[in-house]
Symmetry: C2
Subunit: 227 residues, 2 copies
């Protein structure tokens, strides 16, 4: 079974609005609906699980009539939210070694079917995936925030997007093997694999697969929608 896990934990503070950004409308429709419907439409995906803040569960449920989509409460952090999704799947359908998750940011509504399918193909072959695009900006490394210690070769740097895919049991096993301190640090699930020495397969993203974070991102989003 392949489950889409849509992380919708955002509280929208950076947007300067009360409304969490995943619920803001672009082109007259909530961002989270574009996102969830992209995954629901993919045949290989059995269920779409949306994880949002507890206060927004009932509101979110009312946005969807699609029986393939389930809305539950997320965790405090991105990784805790992934664990909540795995626990939910275990309680409802059970887990086996082939149970795979394709996780995505609710606020990346422009993910393409091709990116989703490439992630699914790659997780079945390789066990873990991360979507990314080649880094466009030069990246500086500054340990103390005052002096640039190095300028890493940009040709090997990629800007992470989502989806990311994982085998559910393996992800939980690796996550539970982390110390509490490591769990604090490892905000990106792919890093749980890399620090444990496991490969994560890189899937090519798209420059339009933007994360809607700042108010000006909404302007870009409307433009992408019209293009």
């Amino acid at each position: 079974m392949i489950y889409a896990v849509i992380a919708a934990g955002g509280i929208g503070s950076r947007m300067g609005s009360e409304l969490p950004k995943q619920y803001i409308k672009i082109g007259g429709k909530e961002i989270i609906r574009y996102t969830a419907e992209k995954f629901s439409a993919v045949k290989d995906i059995d269920k779409v699980i949306i994880l949002c803040p507890e206060d927004w569960v009932s509101f979110t449920k009312e946005l969807f009539s699609d029986e393939k989509i389930t809305v539950i409460r997320g965790g405090k952090t991105r990784n805790e939210t992934l664990m909540s999704a795995i626990d939910f799947i275990e309680a409802t359908d059970g887990l086996d070694d082939d149970t795979a998750l394709i996780t995505h940011d609710a606020v990346r509504p422009f993910v393409t079917t091709e990116i989703i399918e490439n992630n699914i193909d790659a997780v079945l072959k390789f066990g873990a995936t991360g979507t990314a695009i080649p880094a466009t900006d030069t990246i500086f490394e500054a340990y103390d925030g005052a002096v640039i210690s190095s300028v890493p070769d940009r040709s090997r740097l990629y800007q992470a997007q989502t989806p990311q895919c994982f085998k559910a049991l393996k992800l939980r096993e690796l996550y539970e093997s982390l110390s509490d301190e490591e769990k604090e640090i490892l905000t990106d699930a792919c890093k749980i694999y890399t620090i444990k020495g496991y490969d994560v397969h890189l899937v090519k993203g798209d420059v339009c697969n933007i994360k809607i974070t700042y108010p000006h991102d909404l302007i870009v989003a409307e433009a992408i929608l019209k293009s």
Copy 2:
């Protein structure tokens, strides 16, 4: 003497237009005019040198009546363009150990006076500066472009912007000490310092100090202008 060096070498191919992007109008005015006027208005800057493609020199000259602004032909690469600026300064005013350059992308019109002044203060104290903002995206490192080998700690990563500042004689000395192969690789002038073991002081940039590269950047630019 402090010289602003505005790199306007872009040919605009990525914008899908014949017109190099620095000449595209936002709010009815060419992008390069916003940029050059920001630097010309700073008292500590003695001259503003714009370096553009040879075919665009006369066109660019006609955009400016400000006597503080000079337009000359740039080099084939960003670093060659910096060397052209240093040679021009040497031929016109001469160079000494205090001759400092503040270099900037013509297509970053939203640089602030504060960022410019902070760069000038820092180059006088520390000898070299780079402007950057904390990295917003998770960065993946993938040597072969297929497998994510590591996920560097984002807290020490910064997305480079401009301005960058250098002492003219030191920059030329370091650049000329590079092999032709190194010159090919070192597209970022700050890296010329870091690989030679010299510190580059980090100056805090701004999320609005965007580089106008893609068509959708123009939409963001118009929005920033109105904000």
